[in-house]
């Protein structure tokens, strides 16, 4: 009888430790899978720019909004969109919707994504927008970014930023001339005109963000 209780106790202990183990396994996946949904308020972040300065979302409190682009150096899809991201900044920064590029890629996994390589890329391609290093990947986690490039259009209302669009830049990564749907352009244009965004979420092929081992 005593043995029976002991055995039961042991079983419960094993079950409990298994449960704890499983929870800790599952949690990081949930964190990366969720992130901001449409309409969600965005928490402030503060990251290092390629020019060495620190940039926060709150620095944009006087703007109408921000086009946040999770991108990186190594991914061909990100590179395919580099010029178009520059064009978005050229078109919309003067109208109050500047681009803020964030690199969440782990430089340990991809040597092209070190801070020095980011600086080099921004210089070589004359980035007109900040290119921030998300060294801990915490910002990408918060947003729920899963791949590069991954765009989030944020609207500013009295210093509070909310998500208005999540997805890809347009419908043709391979050929800018073949683009028929300009998702980000349409979303920002509508917001500037005081209209709701029509296509609010899109999906696209991209390079998976390799999460650091937690």
């Amino acid at each position: 009888m005593k043995n029976g209780i002991k055995l039961m106790y042991r079983n419960v202990r094993v079950a409990l430790s298994l449960l704890v183990g499983l929870t800790s396994l599952v949690l990081p996946f949930q964190l990366s899978a969720q992130g901001y949904q449409l309409g969600d308020a965005v928490a402030n972040f503060r990251l290092k720019n390629v020019d060495g300065s620190m940039i926060s979302l709150s620095d944009y409190a006087s703007k109408k909004g921000v086009i946040v682009v999770f991108t990186c150096n190594h991914c061909p899809f990100a590179r395919a969109y580099e010029d178009r991201i520059g064009s978005l900044d050229g078109k919309f920064a003067p109208q109050g919707y500047p681009v803020v590029a964030i690199n969440p890629s782990d430089p340990v996994a991809y040597e092209d994504d070190t801070f020095e390589q980011m600086q080099e890329r921004a210089r070589a391609k004359n980035y007109t927008y900040p290119y921030l290093a998300d060294a801990t990947q915490a910002v990408a986690h918060d947003f729920g970014a899963t791949r590069t490039p991954h765009v989030f259009v944020l609207k500013n209302q009295g210093g509070k930023f909310s998500v208005q669009y999540i997805g890809t830049v347009d419908d043709n990564p391979q050929d800018p001339a073949g683009v028929t749907k300009r998702y980000v352009d349409d979303a920002v244009s509508n917001l500037l005109a005081g209209k709701p965004v029509v296509i609010t979420t899109t999906k696209a092929i991209g390079c998976a963000i390799k999460w650091k081992d937690i």
Partner: protein, 199 residues
């Protein structure tokens, strides 16, 4: 007349076969090309094995969405493994050998592996085909030329964000499927496949 045609065709096939067997000793690539030729689905024109331009095209077959859609809804009781990858995607390239091993070990099962490349179509000749040769990929390789991925990603699986690599295991006739938006190792693949093959 019909008989004569059949005999001619047989002779022709034999001639083609013996020729490629001879060249195998000279160049192992030919063996690979002949292998992938054997996998051209029935009902499609089979290149004669001597025209290298034709052979190269079959190494990586450019497909549009309807081809994939047909496969997702086919009636045959075959388990399909669709692996979405790209030559430039490091974790994808790292897991490719697992799919090759699986292909060898499941040759006698009703399992068919298709590696669906997300490379840009303009890179097919200079990048994808040389890669398939270099990696000696035996599996069927398609290049899905549908740039507007937003129009089809959810049809592959509603949970897919579009990140690579991604793998779909499905048996359409039994409406059974499993989807993974991550790299898989061989043991995981075998375990997941067992839910489809051992029933």
């Amino acid at each position: 007349m019909k008989k004569l045609l059949t005999v001619c065709l047989m002779l022709f096939t034999l001639a083609g076969y013996s020729q490629s067997t001879v060249s195998t000793s000279e160049d192992s690539l030919v063996a690979l090309e002949t292998d992938s030729l054997a996998k051209v689905p029935a009902g499609q024109p089979t290149p004669n094995g001597q025209d290298s331009a034709l052979v190269e095209k079959t190494l990586v077959k450019e497909v549009k969405w309807p081809t994939l859609d047909t496969l997702l809804h086919t009636e045959s009781d075959t388990t399909y493994i669709l692996n979405f990858w790209a030559t430039w995607c490091r974790p994808c390239v790292a897991e490719l050998p697992h799919f090759e091993e699986l292909n060898k070990n499941y040759a006698r099962h009703k399992v068919r592996i298709i590696l669906v490349s997300m490379d840009f179509v303009r890179d097919i000749e200079d990048r994808v085909i040389p890669f398939v040769k270099r990696m000696k990929l035996d599996n069927t390789v398609w290049l899905l030329n549908e740039p507007d991925a937003n129009s089809w990603i959810e049809k592959v699986d509603t949970s897919w964000s579009g990140a690579l690599p991604a793998t779909l295991i499905l048996n359409p006739s039994r409406t059974k499927r499993a989807f993974f938006e991550k790299a898989l190792d061989y043991d995981t693949l075998v375990r997941e496949l067992s839910y489809f093959t051992e029933y």
